[in-house]
Symmetry: C2
């Protein structure tokens, strides 16, 4: 049996709590003789700032590079609001993404039938919703240079961010979207602002060309990012796979996640290029560090446990174990076990640890 | 009686149809002896490309500068998809915004009680919704340089857009938001991505400082743009005035508009600085050119007529006439007269022209 090397980075806020539940699940798989994991744990974000003065230590970065997969909780919180920009908690996450080359962020937005009522949208609009946002994650305005604030002669300040995309960056993320669509409902929507942005012009042109040359069997639609945000609210089920840049992806995937009523339940995968049959990967819940409910055993660990299921599937090739874990989550929900965020009439509200225990019991 | 100079730019798609209904309303005010208008009409967008080869002629630009207010329909459509970037239909609108100095875009998102059912959101979340998005309109990634696509040595292309904001640009738009909030529920939320963007850092810092120095009586909250998009879906009524940059404003205001179920009903105002007691202004519906329904007498003219009401109020100082026009719209809706986009059980579906006539009758 192969040993899978995991780096667990719980981070801040509810991160450590939900990461704790993942450890229980890993322990179960080991006990059951299904897989063997070597798990290291390290600090990231505010926790790393407090300990080392930086949001990600070099040692942690090295461990991330050596791991088969990184499981990431969440970072940030009001405590570190005053930390200088270069050392803020989020910089730890951004460095992991960039230095591990995790250009493809897959964010499923699934509306769990049992939770359709929890959505802000009318039930019929979200029931059965199952879309994936494929977000470019190592380019765009997040990393382009210059990125600076300068003081002008008149004392005013001038801030600059730069959005850059190359043909190659767009091609590789579009290919991920097309490949994924072929395994799903075979439809890709590509969102940009080609009517205002040159990166949008190149984005549309490149996606169109790649489609014609290699993916003409897949349905392709171009949509302006502002209209796409509207369409997600109006009729999200029209989409299957939605591919977009780093900044639009940040916003559109949050809208899509919120639509489902299942924010505390949605995992995500950030993947690198395949090299020698393997690829670097980081898995994290879509939700943030939620400092307001941290440390109170209130957080929903399902997004984090679901992120482990994605790791089992995409990084460790443990397809059956992934299915098994997802089925255990579904059964736990069907039995009416709910954390507060998804509790409803006739359900049994439990805390973070009880939810983790319940899922392990279903395994 | 003063004469108010209006430049009407109907544009493309449904633009000319909805602009036609505005002309009827102007004629009524003139006949009633309430105000005198001098209305010129010119081409913009695709219509101007077809006639002059550019999306806005110099003559039209001069007329816009000479007018007390510009009433703008909508631009763009598949017909001009192949037009070079610099001459695309949208460039006409962007030039008007930039050259008239219209830095403040006010986009109310109001849920008309009669239409709450038309929203994708559950009724209780949107009923009574009344927020205004204050979008910066002449800066940011829309206009920053460099903005280009270059071909690299290896044949790849590299596209760049630049987002720039100065202290002064942020201060003046924030002041508009704070002033507006004082006349409303006295709350401002400011949305940016200071965790990723330097323009976000300067934005937050500048808004905070202005607030402390001049608007500490107004409630202020900072929210990350991705979270803000989520919050708009989760619980939009938590907001009163929402101020944000050009690109986030583009997306967030479309989300907010869609929430209301009243997309075809929402007007907007784009305002310049006050100089010698007057300010340049352009009024336009939030919806686009909707080429799919153009020329079929299906478009809802209320957003465009509502934009005229905003012009009466903000540009011509005709506050009573503005109230009168808005009341006529409300009565028309209450009587069950509806265009197709807002029709529902028990209502009387009419075309664009009939809706315009009905509003004039209510006047
Ligand atoms: C924490 C933050 C830097 C991050 C982002 O903006 O990418 C988050 O919002 C996300 O979507 O993962
Ligand atoms: C037509 C387009 C250039 C414009 C924009 O992006 O600003 C539109 O979406 C808007 O919101 O007014």
């Amino acid at each position: 049996m192969a040993t899978h090397k995991i780096l667990l980075l719980p981070g801040d806020g509810i991160g450590p709590e939900v990461a704790g539940e993942v450890s229980k699940v890993l322990a179960w798989f080991t006990r059951a003789g299904i897989a063997r994991f070597e798990t290291e744990t390290d600090l990231v974000g505010g926790a790393a700032i407090d300990a080392h003065g930086v949001p990600l230590s070099e040692a942690a970065m090295d461990r991330a590079k050596a791991a088969d997969a990184v499981l990431f909780g969440a970072v940030g919180g009001p405590k570190w609001a005053g930390v200088p920009y270069a050392k803020r908690p989020e910089a730890g996450l951004l460095r992991l993404r960039k230095d591990l080359g995790l250009f493809a962020n897959l964010r499923p937005a699934i509306c769990y039938p049992a939770l359709a009522e929890a959505s802000a949208l009318k039930r019929e609009l979200v029931e059965g919703l199952d879309i994936v946002i494929v977000r470019e994650l190592t380019g765009g305005v997040y990393f382009g240079e210059p990125k600076e604030i300068v003081t002008l002669e008149d004392g005013q300040k001038r801030a600059v961010d730069t959005q850059v995309y190359t043909t190659g960056e767009i091609e590789r993320i579009a290919a991920v979207a097309f490949d994924l669509a072929r395994k799903r409902r075979n439809k890709v929507a590509s969102a940009e602002k080609h009517n205002v942005m040159k990166t949008g012009v190149l984005w549309k042109e490149t996606v169109t060309k790649l489609h014609a040359e290699q993916y003409s069997d897949v349905g392709l639609e171009h949509v302006l990012a502002d209209n796409c945000a509207m369409q997600l609210v109006r009729n999200p089920k029209q989409y299957d796979v939605l591919v977009t840049d780093n900044l639009f992806g940040d916003i559109l995937s949050d809208v899509a996640a919120m639509l489902t009523g299942s924010l505390g339940m949605l995992p995500s995968a950030s993947l690198g290029a395949i090299e020698n049959g393997t690829r670097r990967a980081l898995y994290e819940p879509v939700h943030g560090s939620a400092p307001d409910i941290a440390g109170q055993n209130l957080a929903n660990p399902i997004a984090m446990i679901g992120s482990l299921a994605m790791a089992l599937r995409y990084s460790f090739g443990l397809l059956e174990a992934a299915d098994q874990l997802e089925a255990a989550i579904t059964r736990t929900l069907a039995a009416g076990t709910r954390t507060r965020d998804i509790a409803g009439p006739g359900t049994n509200a439990v805390g973070t640890t009880e939810m983790g225990d319940a899922i392990v019991r279903e395994l």
